[in-house]
């Protein structure tokens, strides 16, 4: 019980504190930042339990449950949540946000983290749905932190498309429940994932397949899979930097987590061929759309957003490539969470200095902000999949899994699309890094301490690019035992 309390409690306390203290004071932000470390500690403790070979459960009817898959996601969410707490507005330093805006960020940002952590640790797929729907609501409240025409438009698209997608996922959940009720009768426990998975081999294929189509379209909308991705570039580019980091780094992963939970059930019922073909279809389509949208990109935050679609597509493809592919996909999920959240924070610093999100409006980044620019360049190399960064290893493992699974043509196509993305992102970044900065652009880093946590992300990416540490390897192996069959 207590580990879950340490995991879920801190963001909830942070939100309540921010709601209670009015007008906003910086100590709220600092308390929140310190509390966020407790969540990270709890996630690490869960990880320890997995390594020791037990699955922690808690509450009546195993309401909360943290197996290896939940643990990986809880770790990613708590780490990115902590980054957002430390780098978000309202810590007393000079930033672009007023007191009420900082208060709003601390309330809804914490609730957002809480709903994501709850979604990945609840054992009940009904509550998982409720939590993911709540992530839409809490994060949507933060997009128009600065009310502009563009941010209002982005938040409207996000809440409408996101809510409809999530409603369809609810339809899928109802259809899945329908199948189980007809198998095992109405039962308090029937929405528990552990019960679902035990009954799964006796399910009716046509019904559970229909349910999965709804679930994939529904949660896939939130995961940013093409063709349901249209909200994503807008929301990511208009949101304040800490929110973009959380949405891109972990929200997409949490939505994929929900899909994976159901995928395991469906696979147990009808074999892997059905889900594999759907994953490949949506995955490759997402990579395709993202790659060609990157070519014409003129806005660097949108560039990062499309790159998120590309990586979500890659993870999806990996999930369809058997145990090796699942291993690679989960490693990629972790790498992407670290890399992309770091990049969005850096983009926030660039935006703060240059006051524009246009790529053409930014030049000489290496001159004006050498450290930020250097990290941005290195991060971009990581995101496009070059060594010695973690994403290179996971993409390499993914392609190896694809060839081992006997899909050389598909892998060739994906590789070609990645090359398109690679070239266009490199070109865009070059234009930002070099050249003469516009007259009147201040030179120097400004507040330099935020670079410390971001540098730690970079260091972690380099470590992951050189080796997969033993505890991580064990965790991923356990996930493959759950999801890779």
């Amino acid at each position: 019980m207590s580990t879950f309390l340490w995991l879920l409690g801190p963001p909830l306390i942070g939100a309540l504190l921010a709601a209670a203290v009015r007008p906003y004071r910086p100590f709220v932000g600092w308390t929140n930042a310190l509390l966020s470390l407790l969540s990270v500690g709890a996630a690490v403790a869960l990880w320890g339990h997995i390594l020791a070979g037990d699955v922690l459960t808690s509450g009546p009817r195993e309401f909360l449950r943290a197996d290896a898959l939940s643990t990986l996601l809880a770790f990613c969410v708590s780490v990115v949540g902590a980054l957002a707490a430390w780098l978000g507005p309202g810590l007393g330093g000079p930033d672009d946000y007023s007191g009420p805006q900082a208060r709003r960020f601390r309330i809804f940002g914490n609730l957002f983290t809480f709903t994501m952590l709850f979604a990945v640790t609840t054992n009940n797929v009904g509550f998982m749905w409720i939590a993911i729907e709540a992530t839409t609501i809490t994060s949507a409240m933060l997009i128009p932190l600065h009310v502009t025409k563009a941010s209002v438009e982005a938040s409207w698209k996000y809440i409408l498309i996101g809510s409809i997608g999530i409603a369809l996922a609810f339809g899928g959940t109802v259809l899945g429940y329908f199948d189980f009720v007809h198998l095992a009768g109405r039962h308090e426990l029937t929405l528990n994932w552990t019960v679902l998975i035990a009954l799964a081999p006796r399910l009716h294929p046509p019904v559970i397949q229909l349910a999965f189509v709804f679930i994939l379209i529904g949660y896939g909308t939130k995961a940013g899979l093409a063709p349901m991705h249209t909200w994503l570039p807008d929301a990511h580019s208009e949101a304040p930097a800490p929110l973009s980091a959380m949405m891109s780094g972990v929200l997409l992963a949490v939505a994929l987590y929900a899909v994976i939970r159901w995928e395991v059930v469906v696979n147990a019922a009808v074999g892997t061929r059905f889900t594999d073909s759907l994953f490949l279809l949506l995955g490759v389509l997402s990579i395709f759309v993202a790659a060609f949208s990157l070519v014409v990109q003129r806005n660097y935050k949108r560039m990062l957003a499309y790159s998120s679609i590309e990586h979500t597509g890659l993870i999806c493809v990996g999930l369809a490539l058997g145990p090796l592919g699942t291993f690679a996909a989960m490693l990629h999920l972790l790498n992407h969470a670290l890399a992309k959240s770091m990049m969005f924070f850096l983009a926030g610093r660039v935006l703060h200095r240059y006051r524009t999100t246009e790529i053409d409006g930014v030049s000489g980044l290496l001159t004006t902000m050498p450290w930020t620019g250097g990290l941005f360049a290195a991060g971009m190399l990581a995101v496009i999949g070059l060594p010695p960064f973690g994403l290179f290893i996971s993409e390499f493992a993914l392609f190896r899994a694809g060839f081992a699974a006997g899909r050389p043509w598909l892998m060739g196509l994906v590789l070609a699309l990645l090359a398109v993305a690679f070239i266009s992102m490199l070109g865009h970044t070059n234009r930002m890094l070099y050249g003469a900065p516009a007259a009147g652009t201040a030179v120097g880093e400004g507040s330099a301490w935020p670079l410390v946590p971001l540098g730690m992300c970079m260091a972690a990416l380099v470590v992951l690019g050189l080796t997969v540490p033993a505890p991580l390897d064990t965790l991923l192996q356990r996930i493959v035992e759950i999801a890779g069959r």
Binding site: I130, A134, I137, W156, S163, P233
Partner: protein
Amino acid sequence: MDSVFSQVCVLGSSLVLIFGLTLLWRRSVTAYITAFQWQSIVLSGLTAVVAYFGGDHELYLAAGALAALKAVVIPRLLRRMEHRFAAARELQPYVNTPTSLVIAGLLVLFGYAITRPLVALSQLPTRAGMPLAMGLVLVSLFVVISRKKALTQVVGFLMLENGLALLAVLGTYGIPLIVELGVFLDVLMGFLVMQIFMYQIHETFESIDIEQLNRLRH
């Protein structure tokens, strides 16, 4: 008894679907809100009927919550918004009325097609209504895609939710109450946030036509 029960279910589901179809040929937002309100009342009544015949007392609570939320609170908030925006008429939608009706007919047929395995599997007397619920889900989705006013899109979204609630009631006599209450809470919160955004759209664009929301491309 069962035959009366199943006939009531089909009748109720048809009514719920027809209120959904109203969105396709009416032009005034007031009519949309009224249609949504009546749809919710029928849905809530149908839920109570299922609770009575199915002998499931928890479902009465769900019916009550549904009536309070979707037949009273949300329509009232919608009317207040409509009054504030003075947005009396839907503009020419992206798809004209006759085409819309034909598409809606096809969508309902498609609903019948995809729910065939469900109806074949179910033993419940309520099963005949399930295709109509699926039809409503698909038609509402079409409404959201093809309309230009933010308020109409919200009504379409709420009807989509009603279709799913109907599907749950007919297919399994509802989902577990505790989950159901969580879902209601989410619907309410989601609606309130949409309302905030609609006021923001109104203030920043001085109109709630989503055609103006075209700043973000590529």
